[in-house]
Symmetry: C2
Subunit: 342 residues, 2 copies
């Protein structure tokens, strides 16, 4: 399937986002795709700067990611971590021996004064990634998960505590003074479509879209004819990966694609949902969103490419925010696609 | 061979020193041996504090050292370093995956405010080392090698430049304000014998003995009956390991055990030299040193234990600095031992 000539901006978090990002990168030439990645999960560990989402997207696009976990490197060894554990060190964050080199090199280059975006470009070049991966900001943002056990830095919540504490709220330290990375702003100005990858809406997409000044910019681009399409990370009432569904429940919401649509309503134009949630499509349409119902499970690279291409075609079928007439047309077109998939 | 009840203080650098330290540790109960290790080779690399000599002694005494190299861990993997090299990182210092955990944990504990001596004790406990290993100082000392290519931090000279630049002089940054570690002072006060392991006299033993106040303390202990014995790292005109012989040549000295004896003359009482240098013993005796001629090559653990025990027996055969009469007796006794070995 050949995609029409278009320019795509995608926002992504970790594993789920990286899968769609791979599909997009395999479907579009490098100069027509910009992948902006959440850095709210970044943290300092053992003296090194770790950017889990950037690494997941980078490793995935480099063809180096671990297909079992989605994060980390394929064929990784764990000798460092085993030895650290033996020495009584902090071994809760899974650092593979090869992965560790990424953190060492990133930390060194940051220490030399390079911004995170330049460091990311350098690492991508070294790993042979041609698609453009951009951290959402060169300024530090640190996600804090407020829980019944108190506030927890994201990796403490996510990895050390295995998402067990009950979530109350989220806070993004540094966000009010973080500047959207320049390439994000440039790409947004030029993009024909904006895609939210199937990433956690609260801790992956929210830190990006809540960067100062970004929401008005996205709104104005929508008004000027750039639809925004999200791919649902919620499938059949559960999250494919990570704590999104658990978070929704703990926040007093249903962990359904309809609740996800309500979360995004007013800020996006279309939602891609899984065939198992096909019955929810009419309710989502009533919220003013167009829908594409398709198989959103990305088990293989072929799945990732197919979903990316269907998502782009769906986004291209939508017209801007204001254009209801053509929007309906896109909707009907989409309905057919969805029927074929189910 | 059962050693007489005695208390030994040993000064050591890296590989050669660690071998004799192992022999001593296998021959004496833990409360009768203190091994003080050079920290002038320490450096900061990739944001971590690395203590090469402490690690070599610790790994050796833990039975974990690489028998091929003498440094690093047996059965080590190099996936971190290979990945770092691929990323264009600083891969010249050979950091194995398991070894890296030692640096991570040391750096973390130092960052928590623990002194290097306490960190070393912790690491030794974790690795099952029962002998006492003490860094010469908790204060930073950094060896600079002045060369024809300018001043080089020790690891830059030793590892990165492979000891190739011609040596002019040595400088120990921080040494004038470094305090000898408290356990070094306590052990010196109580030791019956002080042994300089077969380590580089310029960059391993010199930083220790030149700690402020230490030379007068050693001299007063010698006067009070604590002989000092050195084991020669120079065998047949070459260094068994490392650049000692090359340094001697570049400093305008002969790279011989006699030149080594001249270096130590006046500050030690006895010298253990190899059988291949037996002909040099009379000249060394003329410098006022007693000698033990024996096989100093430590290929196996049995060699290390034998040399350690012979060295201790030799040291016990010597009396303090001032006691010439008994010194001669020790000398004769030693001569017999040496004859037996040769």
């Amino acid at each position: 399937m050949a995609l029409r000539q278009t320019t795509i901006l995608a926002f992504a978090g970790g594993v789920g986002g990286a899968k769609l990002a791979l599909g997009l990168a395999r479907s579009l030439p490098p100069d027509q795709l910009t992948i902006v990645v959440n850095t709210g999960d970044d943290f300092e560990h053992l003296g090194w700067h770790i950017s889990p989402d950037l690494d997941t997207v980078m490793y995935t696009l480099a063809g180096l990611s671990n297909p079992e976990t989605g994060w980390g490197l394929a064929g990784e060894s764990w000798n460092f971590l085993d030895a650290l554990d033996r020495l009584g060190g902090e071994a809760w964050f899974r650092l593979g021996d090869r992965d560790l080199a990424t953190h060492a090199q990133r930390t060194r280059l940051l220490g030399e004064g390079l911004p995170l975006s330049a460091v990311t470009r350098h690492l991508c070049e070294r790993l042979g990634v041609t698609a453009e991966i951009v951290p959402m900001s060169d300024d530090p943002v640190r996600t804090i998960v407020h829980t019944d056990d108190g506030p927890l830095p994201f990796q403490e919540y996510f990895v050390h505590r295995r998402c067990e504490p009950r979530v109350r709220d989220f806070e993004f330290l540094g966000l009010p003074s973080a500047r959207p990375q320049a390439r994000l702003l440039e790409a947004l100005a030029g993009a024909e479509r904006l895609i939210y990858c199937p990433s956690n809406p609260y801790v992956s997409i929210a830190p990006i879209v809540n960067l100062p000044g970004l929401q008005p910019l996205i709104a104005s681009r929508r008004a000027a004819g750039m639809p925004v399409v999200a791919v649902s990370p919620i499938v059949g009432g559960a999250a494919l990966k990570g704590p999104a569904a658990k978070m929704m429940t703990e926040l007093g919401l249903d962990s359904t694609v309809i609740a996800l649509a309500e979360h995004y309503a007013g800020t996006i134009d279309g939602l891609v949902l899984d065939v198992v949630d096909a019955a929810s499509a009419p309710a989502i349409e009533l919220l003013g969103l167009r829908t594409l119902v398709t198989n959103t499970i990305m088990a293989t690279d072929a799945d990732k490419i197919r979903l990316a291409q269907e998502t782009v075609e769906f986004a291209l079928s939508l017209k801007g925010h204001g254009d209801t007439e053509t929007g309906r047309q896109g909707d009907r077109e989409t309905g057919r696609q969805g029927d074929t998939e189910t």
